[in-house]
């Protein structure tokens, strides 16, 4: 799975592609942590799921870990661009309340302004 990291002011943006699942969660977690730690001014993070076709329980696990990390800096974790199939994963595990799930990147950026 490829991830592209960028930022806008103090908000970090990570665009994922492929699947977020048992195969690559460790790699993704490591990449994210490194990037987040190397950019101490970053608070909130927006994760772009537009190119993600699958999230499994391992993926959810890593997202919860990221949530903790981000909240340590008083930031929010926002997920955008989720397809129906990916949304369903949050629905069936009732984790949609834990994350802030928004429809578009613009919405997410507006919120953090």
């Amino acid at each position: 799975m490829q991830s592209e990291f960028s930022k806008k002011n103090t908000t970090g943006i990570a665009a994922l592609s492929g699947g977020l699942n048992a195969v690559n969660v460790d790699q993704f977690r490591q990449e994210f942590k490194t990037w987040y730690e190397n950019n101490p001014e970053l608070k909130s993070v927006i994760l772009d799921f537009s190119d993600v076709d699958m999230v499994d329980s391992a993926g959810l696990g890593v997202l919860i870990g990221l949530l903790k990390l981000v909240s340590e800096r008083d930031g929010d974790l926002k997920l955008v661009g989720l397809s129906k199939r990916v949304r369903l994963v949050f629905q069936i595990t009732r984790t949609q309340r834990i994350f802030t799930i928004l429809d578009t990147m613009d919405e997410a950026l507006d919120e953090t302004e």
């Binding site: 699958m54 499994d56 329980s57 959810l60 129906k84 199939r85 369903l88 994963v89 629905q91 069936i92």
Partner: protein
């Protein structure tokens, strides 16, 4: 015999025994006695010395008391003693004493203390006679019959002390343990606390009558097995009937004879001990049957056998705790399936043992002769069976099959058994495919007539794709409703085909049995076994194969499953959910199965109009149990348990999850509705 009193004997009738003391004393009383008793008999002549001594003691007490009462002209006291003597006479089987008692009573009413004194002196002399041995010698007393021993715990209930003393003396002398009660209430207490074997209850008592005591004893399940003997002077037929209606074991009329009493008590004791022994034996048998039943059930493996090209499922319903049916399914080393059902004639313990024996014989023969024709196998089975069980009346019917699941070729042999049911995948009967040929039941042919089966008896058939084959025992088709309607082949076929559309490719024999029961068929009348084989052809399989048990393997397999379903027409979200189930399942196996690097899992994907069925097989540790343990442990440390989340996802998405372990392999079978995506999407979102 001098100076005995004022009334010399006069004209004693010759009919009376010479030793009768009454004749000696009360000549005119003898007339009375004759009038009252048809055949005058006294037990005093034959009483044992010890008992006689007891009796004499009572008389001595009465005499002393009467003397005092005469001196004091206490008419009330006289009447009390009179009443006692009347009762004693009846109890001891000495009617002459009863008569004396009555005379005393009359005399007291008339204040005739002269007469009272006379009778008192008579009694005194009487008593002296016994104790000084001037009565008949002990040898003459004995009638040459020794009275039986009484071993047991008895209760004597009588408000008259003398009666109690007499009866207890009589019975204790014979070896019994005797408890005494003065009243009904005391009797009930003693019966509950001491549990005597037999209770002898006087009917006429003040307060609670003997009838009431009997009724209460019989009503309480704790005390109901106490034998109650009613003792009374009342003797109408209605009275006797009343006693028996209340549950009395026996009924003794006073005056009675010691011998009669002892014989009846002995009767009651013997019967009670027999019943006790029987009850204990029944309890022990029942316990042993339960153990045997549990052992037997343990030997029948009811778990399904699921593979790439087949589903083999079983259901078994024994009639009692143990049964005569047997069945088994095996995957042979060459990948072929071997299955049979058999039915040992008869019921109960013997049949169960025979069936256990036969199962061992069949298993061994089947495993050691994998490729030989079935008729050869059954000849071997028959021969070994006959060697072990020589009785020609013990035999078993059976239907045995051996199937190559990939070619769907089946060999079968019918040994006196009902024909199988064969349906196509839509549930329509396929007639004429399986011929009605075969041989006789196993174990029936006498050894001198050779082998029972030949090649001509065998069935060879190629089953069509998607075929459903059911073999069973006759308990199933012979089951009846309470109105007498028999299930028959038609009933069985109806039940099977009714379940097919609902379940898609899950043809569970267990559900067939449930359906038959709900239609009122009494399956418990006989052992019922049902084995269902579903053969999958290429057109039934959407996908299948083996893949590496790694995270990458899991991901690729799950993605492949999604792709195959999309190709079959599944919508994006539903197919994605099945992919998720597959991913979560295999990751569980990878994380907790303890499998080595190169291990592979098997998967099979089938689909029906409304759902898909996903089978996974792996050779790892029993991960289901391990998972749950780890899961509950982890949940305590950290609220967000990944393992638990995966499992709950699976359960949320699947209509059905079967997990079982067989032959050291984990099998997991998931059924997912085709409309799952749509259903989830239309759920109202949670209001946070």
């Amino acid at each position: 015999m001098t100076d005995r009193g004022d009334s010399p004997p006069s004209g004693a009738p010759a009919a009376l025994p010479a030793t009768s003391l009454a004749a000696t004393w009360f000549g005119d009383l003898v007339d009375q006695l004759e009038k009252q008793a048809e055949s005058y008999q006294t037990d005093l002549d034959i009483m044992d010395p010890e008992v006689l001594e007891l009796f004499a003691e009572e008389i001595r007490e009465a005499v002393a008391g009467l003397q005092l009462s005469v001196d004091q002209r206490d008419e009330q006291a006289v009447r009390r003693y009179a009443h006692t003597l009347q009762g004693m006479g009846g109890t001891a089987g000495a009617p002459e004493i009863s008569v004396v008692g009555r005379e005393l009573s009359d005399a007291a009413k008339q204040n005739d203390f002269e007469r009272i004194a006379t009778f008192t002196r008579a009694l005194e002399g009487w008593e002296r006679e016994w104790t000084t041995g001037e009565a008949a010698a002990p040898e003459e007393k004995s009638e040459g019959k020794s009275m039986p021993r009484l071993e047991g715990k008895l209760l004597v209930v009588d408000d008259e002390r003398a009666n109690r003393r007499f009866l207890s003396g009589l019975l204790e002398e014979r070896g019994a343990t005797v408890l005494l009660a003065e009243s009904g209430e005391e009797a009930l207490d003693l019966i509950r606390s001491q549990r005597p074997d037999v209770a002898m209850v006087d009917v006429m008592m003040p307060g609670m009558t003997g009838y009431e005591v009997c009724r209460r004893v019989k009503e309480d399940p704790e005390t109901a097995d106490t034998a109650v003997i009613m003792v009374t002077a009342k003797s109408t037929v209605e009275d006797i009937e009343h006693g028996f209606e209340l549950g009395a074991f026996d009924y003794i009329r006073k005056p009675f004879h010691s011998r009669e009493l002892i014989a009846r008590v002995q009767n009651a004791l013997q019967l009670k001990f027999q019943n006790d022994a029987l009850r204990q034996w029944k309890e022990r048998m029942s316990r042993e049957l339960q153990v045997a039943g549990a052992l037997q059930s343990g030997m029948f493996n009811p778990k399904p056998l699921l593979g790439m090209h087949y589903d083999l499922r079983l259901a078994y319903s024994p009639s009692q705790q143990i049964g005569g049916d047997l069945f088994d399914v095996l995957e042979l080393q060459n990948g072929h399936l071997f299955a049979y059902v058999a039915d040992v004639a008869g019921h109960g313990v013997a049949s169960a043992l025979v069936s256990t024996l036969l199962k061992g014989v069949i298993s061994e023969v089947a495993r050691n002769h994998i490729s030989e024709p079935l008729y050869v196998l059954n000849n071997l089975i028959h021969t070994r069976f006959r060697r072990l069980i020589a009785d020609p009346e013990i035999y078993a019917t059976s239907f045995m099959i051996r199937v190559d699941p990939s070619s769907r070729r089946m060999d079968a042999l019918n040994c006196g058994h009902p024909l199988p049911v064969l349906l196509d995948r839509e549930g329509r009967v396929l007639p004429d495919l399986i011929p009605d040929c075969g041989g006789m039941p196993i174990g029936m042919l006498p050894p001198e007539l050779g082998d029972p089966y030949t090649a001509e008896d065998e069935i060879h058939v190629r089953l069509p794709e998607g075929a459903l084959l059911f073999i069973y025992t006759d308990g199933l088709i012979e089951a009846r409703t309470s109105e007498g309607r028999e299930c028959g082949m038609e009933g069985l076929i109806e039940a099977i085909s009714a379940l097919i559309p609902r379940q898609g490719a899950v043809h569970a024999p267990e559900d067939v049995l449930t359906r038959l029961r709900s239609q009122g068929y009494e399956l418990s009348a006989d052992d019922c076994s049902l084995v269902g084989l579903h053969l999958l052809g290429e057109t039934d399989l959407v996908g299948g194969g083996k893949f590496p048990a790694t995270a990458e393997g899991a991901d690729r397999n799950a993605a492949e499953i999604e792709r195959l379903l999309r190709k079959s027409g599944w919508d994006e979200e539903s197919a994605a959910m099945v992919r998720l189930v597959a991913m979560e399942h295999t990751m569980n196996v990878v994380n907790h199965g303890g499998l080595p690097e190169h291990a592979r899992c098997l998967y099979r994907l089938t689909a029906s109009p409304s759902s898909c069925q996903l089978l996974f097989r792996d050779t790892g540790a029993d991960w289901n149990a391990a998972n749950r343990l780890r899961d509950s442990a982890r949940r305590r440390e950290d609220g967000s348990s990944e393992c638990g989340r995966g499992l709950s996802m699976i359960h949320r998405l699947c209509n059905r999850v079967d997990y079982f372990r067989r032959d050291n392999r984990n099998h997991t079978f998931y059924v997912i509705e085709k409309s799952i995506g749509h259903a989830l999407l239309s759920e109202t979102p949670d209001a946070s």
